[in-house]
């Protein structure tokens, strides 16, 4: 067991996320959208909101409308710490996915108010037991982590851009968190090591309690100090829009952990599966469309599907009865 929350005043405002809130424009082989709600903190908090109370910390411009706020409100996400810059414009990203749906081609990035994002955490946000530092400047992630002195389990994402341009800062931040949730290529790049298991060991050695490596259509892999767990991806014949899948995974992962009394190998494994469950829904429609309409029976049904598709009976091979 890493951490026990039993007897704590844990269920109130238990999870804080800091990251981007954005408008996205997307083109996929299945259609396009000119301006839809996006951003790491958005995808994360929507996903996590199914499991726990979430404080979202971010910044938007005056163009962020009632329709967008409504999405957060409907999911009881606390948006007190989403700063509004009335004269500014919300972060805008435009991208295109080609037929293989694996990598996005960025068409346009307008940082707008996000360029000078300086996360301001209320006492409420600071006091969360779990914190997720979505992909922002690593120095900012570290500042936020240091403000949340009460936090028992802090996880972070990052991206190739920071790893190539300021790896030392990324590593400095890793050293003050408990868990890193990154993708395959980022892990190899960060550790400068092509073998993913060696790379994982190197990253764990910065002092992590857990490392989750997201592998897209191949699922997710969890490394802990004593354990190794592999979850497949849900078999989908159509990936409609992968934008936000990683943050939706992280939201399910951290949200589920926040809902549990303990963080240990067992809850981390189930958190990985719930993360995979949520991500599998996210990619079925554009942006947040699918996750917005989810319900608990759907979530639990897919969780059980994961159990079914990985189950095999633990029956050792009996040499005597058959071979030789």
């Amino acid at each position: 067991m890493f951490l026990s929350f039993t007897g704590d005043s844990f269920n109130i405002m238990s999870l804080t996320v800091v990251g981007s809130v954005a408008f996205d424009a997307l083109e996929t082989p299945f259609g396009k959208r000119d301006k839809i709600l996006g951003g790491a903190a958005t995808h994360f908090s929507l996903s996590a909101s199914f499991f726990t109370k979430v404080n979202a910390v971010g910044v938007v411009g005056g163009d962020f409308g009632e329709a967008e706020w409504d999405v957060f409100r409907r999911h009881t996400i606390n948006t007190d710490d989403i700063e509004v810059v009335p004269d500014g414009k919300t972060f805008f990203w435009s991208g295109r996915y080609d037929y293989d749906m694996n990598t996005a081609q960025t068409l346009d990035t307008q940082l707008n108010v996000f360029e000078t994002f300086d996360p301001k955490l209320s006492e409420n946000s600071k006091s969360a037991k779990l914190v997720f530092l979505a992909n922002i400047l690593p120095m900012l992630q570290k500042q936020v982590r240091e403000q949340c002195s009460n936090a028992g389990f802090v996880a972070m994402d990052t991206m190739n851009f920071w790893i190539s341009s300021m790896k030392d800062a990324v590593i400095d931040t890793i050293k003050v968190v408990d868990c890193v949730i990154i993708n395959d290529a980022e892990a190899r790049q960060l550790a400068d090591e092509p073998n993913i298991h060696k790379a994982a060991r190197k990253i764990m050695d910065y002092g992590l309690k857990a490392l989750v490596i997201k592998r897209g259509e191949y699922g997710a892999t969890l490394f802990t100090q004593n354990g190794y767990f592999s979850a497949p991806a849900y078999p989908l014949e159509s990936v409609f829009d992968p934008t936000g899948a990683g943050d939706t995974f992280a939201g399910g992962f951290m949200g589920y952990l926040a809902s549990q009394d303990e963080i240990n190998d067992d809850t981390l494994r189930r958190a990985c599966v719930y993360g995979s469950v949520m991500a599998s829904f996210n990619v079925e429609k554009f942006g947040t469309e699918r996750v917005e309409t989810l319900d608990y029976p759907e979530i639990n049904q897919r969780f059980r599907d994961f159990k079914k598709m990985t189950h095999f009976d633990d029956i050792a091979f009996e040499q005597a009865s058959s071979a030789a």
Copy 2:
């Protein structure tokens, strides 16, 4: 249940493999070997020999020595149908793996006696209940399959070369077998479909009972008419030499099935895991070196490791106790 062998005279000479027996020259970042035993039928039968009796069908030249025959003998593999062409030379392949160990670069291929390989099956080989058609010319695979009229479960491999040069012949052969065991890229190429689940459905629709898609470091995926199963790869920090991993997988898979009284979703799942177990040993040393020295406790220990690394408790999320 697809097939029941109960009450049958099943345990005697139950599995036949047709494919290459070769000498390999290998270079990897960890070392090199100038001339070691290789070939699909070799890797397959060594692996399968831990689970059942195997008949190997192939061809070698006069340069195939006692040391090589000894490897087969020590594993009680029936080599009566490995034809010897005294004046010919054994199939020779030379390849190199770079640092990422994922794809082999072929340096030299000398087909030698394998160029005119015309598999001749004895009554014994023909009468096997399970048959594996390793990667050879698809028309030859089909001829062999037709000779084995007694076979209850026939599986085949193929390769990108045949799929690009004679896809129709590959499909003709698929239509007369029960199971295809191929890699990721081959499945996409065969189905002309980037989504692996759509590709799998298209291939299954040729009339298969099972399809196994090998995904290298990401494990293996089993499709059956009513089921889907995903097995991870064993987490290895050093992949020493991946040559023959696919055939070793197939050997464990088919060998395990041959040892069971029934082929059904449960035994196919465990076969996938035993295939993964055997492949994970194969890559730990050069060529057949590691599999040659395996024992049952090691095999079963690794099987249990697979169980551990995929296990999670089937506990649905309880909304009331935590969220909203």
